[in-house]
């Protein structure tokens, strides 16, 4: 248990610190790198809780795709972040005040909240304990059977997203040289090289 507790504190401290550095660092590229560090540590926390599937998804989707995309955007866009940051600190007291008020409200709400046990019904399918079945196996058991319809419907939604992105952004510019494999394969000796008779001592 102590090892787990040590790792918990390690992951959470690094996670909070890197989350702070995301907004505090001067260089936007560093911000994104700190964001990735925060994601990885959050994934570590998930593993400690036995939610290995969520952890892997976090790394694969957020670190692998979203954060890398951010990194590209930040590096490609010519935005003067130093200028955007002007006056950032002068709003800090107001922001901190609002944050503290929210915190107090949350503590009051969560502290005094009690859900009527009659109101909360037990879920239809109980989650099996981790010792019996891993998350991934449990998800795999229902994803393609009980939730087949939702799985397929999500696929269609993603297809629409893909079609939409292409419809709204893809432009065929005239005059751009593209690779045409058929044309490349169809090249013969005749079309590729030209044999010239060069007269002796006269150059081309």
């Amino acid at each position: 248990m102590t090892v787990a507790a040590a790792f918990f504190y390690l992951f959470s401290c690094v996670c909070v610190a890197s989350a702070f550095m995301v907004i505090a660092s001067r260089n936007p590229v560093h911000s994104v790198l700190f964001l990735i560090l925060a994601f990885v540590n959050a994934a570590g926390l998930f593993i400690l809780m036995g939610a290995e599937f969520l952890a892997m998804i976090l790394v694969v989707v957020y670190v692998g795709a979203v954060a890398v995309l951010f990194l590209f955007v930040v590096m490609m866009l010519d935005v003067d972040f130093a200028e955007l940051r002007q006056g950032f600190l002068q709003y800090l007291p107001v922001g901190a005040l609002i944050g503290v008020i929210f915190l107090i409200e949350l503590v009051l709400v969560v502290g005094s909240m009690a859900i009527d046990p009659e109101l909360v019904k037990t879920p239809v399918a109980a989650i099996p304990p981790v010792s019996e079945m891993t998350n991934t196996a449990a998800l795999g058991q229902v994803l393609y059977t009980r939730y087949l319809y939702f799985f397929q419907a999500s696929g269609l939604v993603l297809l629409v997203a893909m079609i939409g992105a292409i419809v709204l952004t893809l432009r065929h510019k005239p005059g751009v040289k593209r690779q045409d494999v058929a044309q490349q394969v169809a090249r013969t000796r005749d079309t590729a090289i030209e044999v010239r008779k060069v007269p002796f001592r006269e150059g081309v």
Binding site: V120, L159, G164, V167
Partner: protein, 481 residues
């Protein structure tokens, strides 16, 4: 846990046909490029017709599949037929306009097809996850088609505006769904109905309010209507015609199914919401349309008002109320498709026109079109012998039977105010001097839809003609109770 056997897929056959057709058409489009636009449009219509055939031939009894998250009953079949009619008609009359505007891309019919698939899934949704997925499939496709004229700043603005507000409403809907799941322990509509028997369900009512807000956005009911006029005006006219018909039908059917089957135990709570939304929509639809000069904006406010009238039937909360909603939506669909078929054909040599005063003197330049349009506008206004009046009569009768007298009275008053702007257009067409050259001739698809809509509205005036529609709607409404 057994795999899903083949026969369990049978109730979802129309949706499977639509989805498979969409995948196939994407492939054809990707291989053949823009040359395939005409072919894909035709094949999309074939797919919608095939889905319609399968919907009609399905048995009348209630069938659930996919573990109870997908349900087919009389209500679903009625609403699906109307939705498919709306999609097919919108597609049929838009081809000519899109070709002239240079935006007849092959993705357009495919996105309409995918949106239609989403609508069918919404109508058949029997739990909160299916509801959300169907709604998102429909909405995402609609966001894209709203911006399909991407080189036009107004079309892009319409798409972006619709997307941002739509995403917000989806967020509210999800929040409500998670509250309801938290307080009832189930996502299935029947399970929620069981859990909400008896007294005191404050948490679930919170969730209900958020779900109502999310769905009210999709049918553009006040106070979630802000996007409608801008999107109708900015999006290409065929897209506005599509938005006004099929998605409204599907979202209304979904709203009815959620409230009637999942929350029958807290009818008094949701009735307050529906009554407020209905009154606000009817009033705004009546007053805000008066000042409009653009016919697409006018139709947007008109559709807001009509959604209000349809909700009056839902507020009754009875089988007769649901019947009146279905009849109202069927007649609304016919009227709005016919009107938009004409709006799509409003084009002079120099390009399409959208102003109300461009219609001036239409009775002299194009008498047949003017008479057809007169019938449609009188019907939209609810002038007595026409179908629009019948539709309003049924919803108000249902409200009176449920003892919602003040709601019915406010509805009648709002429809009197609304009649002003419909009849003003009739006056402009018949009594004003022609403003310019005659419109160019209508394309075949527009002509067919326009003529059919006018004829249906006239035929419904005959004694005994609304009978089959009423009995079909009643049978459909009974299947929910």
């Amino acid at each position: 846990m057994a795999a899903v056997p083949m026969f369990a897929l049978a109730p979802a056959l129309p949706e499977i046909v639509l989805a498979a057709a969409a995948l196939l058409l994407v492939l054809i489009g990707a291989l053949r490029g823009e040359r395939a636009a005409g072919l894909i449009e035709a094949l999309t219509l074939v797919a919608i017709l095939a889905a319609g055939f399968f919907v009609v031939t399905q048995g009348g009894e209630r069938v659930e599949t996919f573990g109870g998250s997908f349900v087919v009953d009389g209500f679903a079949r009625f609403a699906k037929v109307l939705t498919l009619v709306g999609s097919a008609a919108a597609l049929l009359m838009s081809g000519d306009y899109l070709r002239r505007a240079g935006i007849n891309r092959f993705e357009y019919p495919i996105l309409i097809l995918l949106a239609t698939t989403g609508m069918m899934m919404m109508i058949s949704a029997n739990d909160l996850i299916a509801l959300y997925l169907g709604l998102e499939l429909q909405s995402l496709s609609l966001y894209v088609v709203a911006a399909i004229d991407r080189d036009n700043a107004r079309s892009s603005e319409a798409g972006l505006k619709y997307f941002v507000l739509g995403a917000l409403s989806s967020g509210m809907l999800l929040y409500g769904a998670s509250l309801i799941y938290g307080f009832t322990g189930t996502v299935s509509f029947t399970g929620i109905a069981q859990a909400l028997q008896g007294e005191g369900h404050t948490g679930a009512i919170f969730g209900l309010v958020f779900i109502a807000a999310g769905l009210a956005f999709k049918i553009s009911a006040v106070p979630f209507h802000m996007w409608t006029p801008d999107v109708y005006e900015g999006a290409p006219t065929p897209v506005a015609a599509f938005f006004a018909a099929a998605p409204k039908m599907a979202a209304m059917a979904l709203l009815v199914r959620v409230f009637i089957t999942a929350f029958p135990g807290i009818v008094d709570q949701w009735r307050q919401i529906i009554v407020f939304v209905a009154i606000a929509s009817m009033a705004l639809g009546a007053f805000a349309a008066i000042g409009q000069r653009n016919i697409k904006r006018l139709m947007a406010y008109s559709s807001i008002g009509h959604m209000g009238y349809a909700l009056v039937g839902l507020a009754a909360g009875t089988a007769e109320g649901v019947q009146s909603v279905l009849v109202y939506m069927a007649i609304y669909l016919v009227m709005t498709l016919g009107t938009f078929a004409f709006i799509l054909s409003m084009r002079r040599e120099e390009g399409p026109v959208e102003g109300i005063y461009d219609l001036a003197g239409l009775a002299r330049t194009q008498p047949y079109a003017a008479y057809g349009l007169t019938i449609l506008f009188f019907s939209l206004a609810g002038i007595p012998p026409l179908a629009g009046f019948l539709a309003k009569w049924y919803v108000f009768a249902a409200a009176v039977e449920a003892q919602l007298y003040s709601l019915a009275v406010i509805g009648v008053l709002a429809s009197v105010v609304g009649a002003y702007y419909y009849i003003r257009i009739v006056k402009i067409m018949h009594f004003d001097e022609p403003a310019g050259a005659a419109f160019t001739p209508m394309a075949a698809g527009q002509k067919v839809i326009f003529a059919l809509a006018s004829i249906i509205i006239v035929v419904l005036m005959l004694p005994g003609a609304p009978g089959p529609l009423n009995s079909a709607a009643l049978a459909a409404a009974r299947s929910l109770f």
